[in-house]
Amino acid sequence: MTNFFTILEIPISLSPDPERIESSWREKAKESGEADLHEARAVLTDPVRRLDHWLALQNVEPERGSSIDPEMMDLFSRLHSVLAEADQIIGGLKEASTALTRALLSKEAIAAQLAIQECMKTVREEKDLRIERYSSFEESAETGKFDGAVATLGQLKFLQKWEQQCQERLLTLLEY
């Protein structure tokens, strides 16, 4: 198993110093064209991928088919309706072939954008909340306990997916 921490010669940690990652990567990338270096940097600078990698290094298997945390269910249903609404507007915009018919949809399009941005903000807050728990995972790891980290990773993956979905809709709305 590739250890991205070793590749960049930084200590294994769930919250490594970003500047150290950057400077170490830069120095090494200039010396060699090793493909793993870029990936190491990309993984270690992304909190979700970092947790995933850290767990893999501890030989902990990720949860399979995890379900949405009950505390995130409200967000999920809100997101679902906001995205469905946006898709409908995007569909209308795609069909509209004139500036006037698109303009008639602009009020709804702006409303959809604002709603998505609002949702995305909550998604990011939820993500940050979970990333803040990282230091507690390291403590539990010392006693061989990983269930908190594993469960959080499952939830973070959901949140990340939602963030991507929001982002995609926003970008598409922006095209009109």
């Binding site: 990338a29 200039k30 870029h38 990936e39 500036a99 006037l100 018919t101 008639l104 922006l174 009109y176």
Partner: protein, 605 residues
Amino acid sequence: MEDEFIIGIDLGTTNSLVGVVDSGFPILLADENGERITPSVVSYREEADPLVGREAYRAKRLAPERTVSSVKRLLGRPFSDLTPEELNTLSYPVTNDGRDHIQIPVGKSEPVTPVDVSSEILRHLKQVAEAALECEVARAVITVPAYFNNAQREATKAAAQKAGLRVERIINEPTAAALAYGLDKIDDDQTVAVYDLGGGTFDLSILQMRDGVFEVISTAGDTQLGGDDIDQAVAGELAKTWELEDLSPSESVNLHTAAKEAKESLTAADSHTVRLPFLRDGRSFEHTFSRAEFEALILPVIERTRPICRRALAEAEGKEVKKIDHFILVGGSTRIPLVRDKIEEWFGYEPNLSQHPDEAIALGAAIQAGILCGRVRSIVLVDVTPLSLGIETFGGLMNVIIPRNSTIPAKAGEMFTNAVANQESIAIRVLQGERELAKDNWLLGEVIVPFENGPKGSARVGVQFAIDRDGILEVLARDTVTGKDHILEIRDAAVDVDDSEVENMVSESIEYAFEDMNERVWTEAKLKSEELLPAVDTALQMVGDQLDEKEMSQIKSAADEVRGLLSRGEKDAAVLKQANAALDDATQSLAALLVEAAFSDMTPG
């Protein structure tokens, strides 16, 4: 190893170039006639090797159906991907081989594939390089549009191998252009956007250059958008003006060549006269384009680049890149003044024209080749994958595994298990694209993951999806017992359909392509009228009171005109289209009022 050259190749839609790094500087290599630019045209002959480049370009008028140009637009695409319009604009025939692969029947011999044609161009470039360098060349860096998908990249690589070249790296065209731009600014700290509008493809990439590192932040594009579409718009207009229908291949070639000349001439001149003597039945044709007329014709094509730019810029902004220091233009089509004006108008950036539109990409390819063989001091290049990679899950949805704009190389793992006892394997459909539904994305192929016998849920196979530095996918499965990875074959997912079915598909598409043009244009125009008229009524109700009398009467008379044409039974498509355009035009200010009203309604204060 120092002595062994790696060449850099820009395999373009219209033109191709080859270069190397010599004494620390990238240079382009010329053929025996001193030409650095090779037209990407191959003309097949009976009982002789095909002509490539300038000679082939000249042969195009004489043997249009055996001369293949713009093959890059077909490379790596399934036949079913081609639209009737696209088929219609090609001057040579293409067919389906029965497995959804594109074939080009050129004369009596075996039909050729887009990979074959591309390999002829690459073989020619290899020979140009060998003659210029006076040594054998076996290794190359080849550029591709950033927005090329996996299949298009694979096809490019296959073409090179066929031409006897080992591909050391595939690099993205805008990234190559940025290398050419930044070679002498290695230690500067700046953010650049590269707007690359070539003969057939468009990309916009945003890069950060800092302390010897070139990092792509975001990229977006369209692999079917470029100078060819501009020529098509002009050629279409000529055919319309001269009332020429059912163009023969040679008429089509003549019109396109004339359109291309008009485009090039109007880059500097204010007007251009197209003359085509004895084009049909001994008749000659003439038409003068003013610059304004030309620009109105091609504006819709240029407009298509705008949402793509907005997407890439917004995504860079999401990654905390707020300011672009230089907006660099490359690709032959950026010579058109309208392109430069529009960029400034849309985004407020003064275009940076420091790079040679035709040569920057090839120079960048040469620099990358130079880095790989140690002829250039090390520059760290970090690129991204343009499209999200995913697999199809329950309900036909796409599950993203590696999101677009991820740094490459990238890997992501998924675990698979047997759903029933003693299931032998599972077929995973691998997709590329941004759409929610699997069927709306490109299907890269199918991977069969084998399981060991056992009760339900007992088998476990970890599958790694890896995108390498060339942006090409590899799928590995880990054997749980030995812990060893092995490569899974990505099978062409195109199913074998029987021949009669294919014939049907082909004849249908041809029928569709040649169906009565007036009928089709009329139906399209009628749809547009039916969309516009109720919209005008609604909009007038909402913000009509803010219009002055003149605007109001203009809109009303334009709308009445359209209504009148619809109720009369004449079905004159061109007239209705014109009336629609007039109404569309008359309602621009109305549309602006609506957007303005929406903004002030939705934003507080």
